[in-house]
């Protein structure tokens, strides 16, 4: 009906997109396109990493230009579609305006200005620089329909596998990966090529390849996003690994909390099988690979490779002592290479672009890029991918857009419950396995939570300890009882009931739990405590004296109504324990005895008259 230059419209429908209301937006786009006779593909794509902007609608023009709209509501989605087909002249603009007003009147949703901005570093032309990202793992995320293998193929997918099976011996593949300097992205940073070589060198010829998609760190969602947005990349990586180590069977162990990713993955495997990239005689060679998807059942410790294998074998996910390492004796006693999602996702790129290209990125001992789930007190949260060696400050300030108004950058929590808190004063540290380990934190799998001055570091330590204590498998003494006793001390501190000797006791316990636990869970559980003790000891001391400087710890704070109170009684209505008497038009007061510090009053106060002290 009209002239337009739209090639396709993409709507982000990964978990983050759906959670933000992406489905109705997707429907609205569909419907509007039909209504306007705009016959272009409306694609449900994964996530491009801009989770804070979801729901995202992206309009791709025939000339490759891309316009990205964030925070889109259905009404705006309709307008975006209509704008695509309206002529650009004066008349068109006026008509568009009128239409816009009509839409506005028709919709019951508040108008949020939808600003196109640069979603993608490669198209960072419009508003706002997304910072110095480099996309390897995420190169297709948000660009392609994850449920369409052809789109993956169109972007060079499976060329790497083809090259491997056609032109390279397994040993050459391992060498290529070794030379690229790729290290495990699951947290440990073990050289991937070395692991494959170990598995390959075992006598036993029944071998397994396992993809660890358990992603249990609270605050990490890189693997989910990759699997939801570009599953074929991971499958291709696994196929290459299987070829390299000589495995004919593989497992993808994925968190059950990721239903969408599970669905996408299952479908992607079926498509790959149909297209001949999995199954018997792959690409006409003698190489075969069957992949199974195994859903986890809710246990963080199953991210640990020996626990993961126990879980695949139908047992309790309790780690066992290593050696023997899985590469020597894994699933059913057979050599097994366990690698992380992101590790596999790097592999096709390495094969396609060459080891040298990968090794050219990053630092001396940390090569390539790293994906982070950026969250917390920053303006722009989401998934990012940066070259190794990028500084923390770059990530926080340039990519994350810095703190919210009036807030001070305090620390980043990196590596989740196994990692630690790096203070703002060390923000110029490059992201590099060894550099991060020296701070007492770890690279981890990619959780990066930014904290500001309203966050209590003792509470953060307690939070992570509570997590590890609950997730401990309960096998070994130091982790099972030790983390509980550490948590006891932290709870005492947060309750203002600490004893002066608690800090030393805590440090001593941390030290022992770290050195004497069976698996990585126990061995790294003290990290959040040790790093906060190291860099924020003053906060611990304040808690000993019954003060929480960030005003977070319930037992150490009080709510008070200031004289800016307008007497609207809203707080009194909301208080669940009647600690506030409604006194219309007068300043309200809070009965400290009754107050349970739930924050309901403060959140509801229209005059911001309630303070915490």
């Amino acid at each position: 009906m009209s002239d337009h230059n739209v090639k396709e419209i993409r709507v982000g429908l990964a978990t983050c997109g759906i959670a933000s209301g992406g489905r109705p937006v997707h429907e609205a786009v569909h419907e509007a396109a039909r209504r306007h006779g705009l016959h272009v593909p409306v694609k449900a794509v994964g996530c491009s990493g801009l989770c804070h902007q979801e729901p995202i609608v992206e309009v791709v023009s025939t000339d490759g230009r891309r316009q990205v709209f964030g925070g889109v509501r259905p009404a705006e989605a309709r307008r975006i579609v209509r704008d695509c087909v309206t002529p650009r002249g004066m008349v068109g603009k006026a008509m568009a305006w009128a239409g816009r007003m009509a839409d506005l009147l028709l919709s019951d949703e508040a108008w949020v200005s939808v600003k196109p901005f640069a979603a993608h570093p490669e198209s960072a032309t419009e508003a706002g620089q997304a910072g110095e990202q480099k996309l390897i793992v995420l190169e297709n995320c948000g660009q392609i329909d994850p449920l369409c293998i052809d789109e993956y193929l169109a972007r060079g997918g499976y060329a790497a596998l083809r090259r491997c099976v056609a032109d390279m011996t397994p040993q050459q593949v391992i060498d290529a990966v070794t030379q690229s300097g790729l290290r495990g992205r699951g947290g440990g940073g073990y050289p991937t090529g070395l692991k494959w070589a170990t598995a390959r060198s075992q006598q036993d010829s029944t071998r397994y390849v396992v993809c660890n998609a358990d992603e249990g760190d609270p605050g990490a969602f890189m693997d989910r996003l990759v699997l939801e947005s570009d599953p074929q990349r991971v499958i291709e990586g696994m196929a290459i690994a299987a070829y390299a180590i000589g495995a004919a069977e593989g497992y993808i162990y994925i968190r059950a909390e990721y239903p969408l990713a599970v669905r996408v993955l299952r479908e992607a495997i079926a498509q790959a099988e149909r297209a001949g990239y999995l199954g018997q005689g792959i690409l006409g060679t003698g190489f075969s690979l069957r992949l199974h998807v195994m859903e986890g059942a809710g246990a963080f410790v199953c991210g640990e490779e020996t626990a993961l294998m126990a879980s695949i074998m139908g047992r309790r996910g309790m780690p066992r002592f290593r050696p023997p390492y899985p590469a020597e004796s894994g699933l059913w006693g057979k050599p097994t290479s366990v690698n992380n999602v992101e590790t596999f996702a790097c592999v096709p790129w390495i094969v396609r672009h060459g080891s040298a290209a990968f090794a050219a990125i990053g630092t001396e001992r940390s090569k390539g890029t790293k994906v982070f789930a950026l969250a917390g007190r920053i303006r722009r949260g989401g998934l990012i991918e940066v070259p190794m060696g990028t500084t923390i400050r770059d990530v926080v300030e340039n990519i994350g857009g810095g703190m919210h108004e009036g807030r001070r950058f305090k620390a980043v929590q990196i590596g989740g419950p196994s990692g630690g808190c790096i203070p703002a004063s060390m923000a110029d540290l490059p992201i590099d396995y060894e550099a991060l380990t020296r701070t007492g934190a770890i690279m981890g799998s990619g959780g990066l939570v930014v904290l500001d001055d309203s966050d209590c570091m003792v509470d953060i330590a307690r939070f992570f300890l509570e997590f590890t204590e609950k997730e401990s498998c309960g096998k070994c003494t130091f982790c099972r009882v030790g983390t509980r006793r550490m948590l006891d001390i932290l709870e005492r501190l947060c309750d203002g009931k600490g004893h002066p000797e608690d800090l030393d006791d805590l440090e001593m316990l941390c030290d022992q739990v770290r050195h004497t636990s069976l698996c990585g869970l126990g061995r790294t559980a003290p990290n959040p405590v040790l790093t906060t003790l190291r860099y924020f000891r003053d906060e611990y001391e304040a808690h000993l004296q019954g003060r929480c400087p960030a005003r977070k710890c319930k037992a150490l704070i009080a709510y008070r109504v200031t004289d800016t109170c307008i007497g609207c009684t809203r707080c009194a209505q909301r208080c669940p324990v009647q600690a506030i008497q409604p006194t219309p038009y007068e300043q309200h007061t809070i009965d400290a005895e009754k107050c349970i510090r739930c924050g309901m009053c403060k959140a509801g106060c229209p005059a911001d008259a309630i303070v915490v002290e």
Partner: protein
């Protein structure tokens, strides 16, 4: 897990459904977790009779199934409420106030026994989960399959009321 705490079972457990599941999933020891998952998705919890039936009909031993089904937090041994409320307690949600959300919901639903997570009407079961992966919407929760983000304690309780109204109570 003492005898006395065994849940009263309202309806007889449909063991034919369990047989179907076993037929689909397999009878080897490594099928334990998929079997449990399927049983749970059928009954919404793991009735003990069903588990005992699995031991009778597969290679899975009683010790294995009891150990496995209590190890993983996904598995529930008690019937749940009509709606599952999952409050995210990931790092980002924690710093954004998730503890206050959970407390407000429990208070709102009158769940005050620490060992209980379902309200008296058996309409809502509240669960703390470690990260729903929606950190940019912190704090967030899901009720059944719908995600709600950028919550405040008040907003969370309003959402509960809305869902309650929609389900006709």
């Amino acid at each position: 897990m003492t005898k006395a705490k065994r849940q009263p079972v309202d309806e007889p457990i449909d063991l034919a459904a369990v047989d179907n599941i076993v037929r689909r999933t397999g009878t080897t020891a490594d099928a334990a977790i998929p079997i449990l998952q399927a049983i749970q998705s059928h009954f919404r919890y793991l009735p003990q009779e069903a588990l005992e039936h699995v031991c009778r009909t597969t290679e899975i031993t009683a010790a294995q199934i009891a150990g496995v089904s209590t190890f993983y937090s996904q598995f529930r041994h008690k019937p749940v409420g009509r709606h599952m409320v999952r409050v995210c307690h990931g790092t980002a949600c924690h710093v954004a106030g998730a503890p206050l959300i959970t407390e407000a919901l429990r208070r709102h639903l009158g769940i005050d026994d620490d060992h209980e997570d379902t309200d008296a009407d058996r309409l809502f079961t509240i669960e703390k989960v470690p990260c729903l992966g929606c950190c940019s919407l912190a704090p967030c929760m899901t009720i059944d399959d719908v995600t709600y983000g950028k919550l405040t304690p008040h907003k969370a309780t309003m959402i509960i009321d809305k869902v309650r109204k929609e389900s006709g109570r």
